[in-house]
Symmetry: C2
Subunit: 294 residues, 2 copies
């Protein structure tokens, strides 16, 4: 079953039920966003209207409980200049703390020059872009994920593997294209324990940095300078150990991916990690407070 | 420059020069294999002839220095029954210790029923199949890796990311298709610190195992039962920490990926790892000796 269908009731409840779940788990603040693709699937004018409406509705929800909720903007990616303007409106007028971008738009990743205005505006506003996975292009689904029993191919293309590999590729394209060098103040966030990136730093420098003579920094350095990672949906201690060793305690943000993952399970898992109180405090809330200014 | 071109001299020297490099690094034994695709790119009859010739030549090299070399079979994957027979010939007559398979064949992975005879024969002979990355299908290269500067897209599709994601998908297809349940004695080896798999065990069980009701085991259990990983080309301590925590010291084999990676660098890195002497001995040689019976 697609995740959105399985969690319809929890997704729809952005009020008392959600806050009760947060209270039960000990979560003080949740950043809300439109879940999954939306305006990015629509032609420009319809996308702009949908995103504006979605953001206004989210702002109303957040305003009612600004002690417990913050918001990420939903952007009309098929109209990049308008998306940049909508991001600015969301940050300046609605007090949102960043934007969530759902992977590729019409098969193009954020390194495509048409999206430059969005990167520039996020940098100028000093708010992060959260790169969320999206549905893989059909060509990739056909090449890699066909012919498996039941729902397993569908899941393998998505949250069972494909989503996460694609999001890592998205980050690497932003680095290798030079986009992050052109926007050195841009902050990215990726979830799912860093979408495999923490285990690759040596390999990236061995294989990619030598050929990337157009870049100002080694690939690993750009990752550490501009990318933070979250634990969303990935309560896995071996993966956390690699993330901590590679990215360090200043670049990891606790996150659940509610309602697709269970809030209490995430918090309970966080408490089991081999962290002293200073690093635990950073990961539990300090890094998010600094990066999102909440 | 493609790696094979950059390392032509080292690749060609399967004698005194290679043994001198092994001596200088402290490597006692190397498993040799045909590097990269070969017979798997040819139509059946030509592939069978090429593989047979390559394996005979490799056997001559190994026989001369059986104190320092062992061999993996090169298989004519486009002729699966003949490939199974060639594997048996290599193991019984040439004393090879397993086979190396270079990813997909004509876009098909080893879960395709046509390759069943190869899996069954490896299982019957009790020799492992080493799944090596190969060139990604063109559809994937076009969707994910186009439009980047210089050689960076080519490298990102290959040893900079794509190879490794594809090999993880290969293993997962073998699990989700039920092929590893049908061949529970089959042993797989994947290199590059497990092709990201060590950081996924919790996620696989969360996302995939529930939908895979046709399988006899959880995905993580099948990985631990039938897959060993090597350090080849991945001298990265954060990645190793995740691999050790997830797969354990009994399933990690030291390997260099010579000449694409440097032998002395690998050995020096191995010595820096936080391992006691018992686990270090397993990873340095004990696990390979047991799995390959060398």
């Amino acid at each position: 079953m697609p995740p959105g269908v399985a969690h319809g009731a929890e997704l729809a409840d952005v009020g008392a039920g959600r806050i009760a779940d947060m209270d039960a788990a000990g979560v003080s603040l949740a950043v809300l966003s439109v879940g999954g693709p939306g305006a990015d699937l629509l032609p420009p004018s319809a996308g702009v209207a949908l995103a504006r409406d979605a953001n206004n509705r989210l702002a109303d929800l957040v305003k009612d409980r600004s002690d417990r909720f913050a918001g990420f903007a939903h952007l009309p990616m098929t109209a990049p200049e308008a998306a940049a303007d909508e991001l600015e409106r969301c940050v300046r007028e609605l007090e949102f703390v960043g934007a969530m971008v759902n992977g590729h738009t019409d098969g193009l990743f954020l390194d495509d020059p048409r999206f430059g205005p969005i990167l520039a505006r996020a940098e100028a506003l000093d708010v992060p872009i959260y790169l969320h996975p999206s549905i893989a292009p059909k060509a990739v689904r056909d090449a890699y994920f066909g012919g498996l029993p039941g729902q397993t191919g569908f899941l393998l293309a998505g949250p069972g593997f494909g989503w996460h590999a694609e999001t890592a590729i998205h980050v690497l394209r932003l680095i290798l294209s030079g986009a992050l060098d052109r926007h050195p103040g841009l902050k990215l966030i990726v979830g799912h324990m860093g979408e495999t990136l923490p285990t690759w730093l040596t390999r990236f420098d061995d294989v990619l940095s030598g050929a990337a003579t157009h870049l100002e920094r080694r690939v690993s350095q750009t990752l550490l300078d501009q990318v933070s990672i979250t634990t969303s949906g990935w309560f896995d201690t071996p993966a956390f150990l690699a993330a901590l060793a590679a990215f360090g305690a200043d670049r990891i943000l606790f996150s659940v991916d509610y309602p697709f993952s269970d809030m209490k399970r995430g918090v309970d898992w966080l408490a089991t990690l081999p962290l002293g109180p200073a690093d635990l405090a950073k990961i539990a809330h300090g890094n998010a407070a600094r990066l999102l200014r909440i």
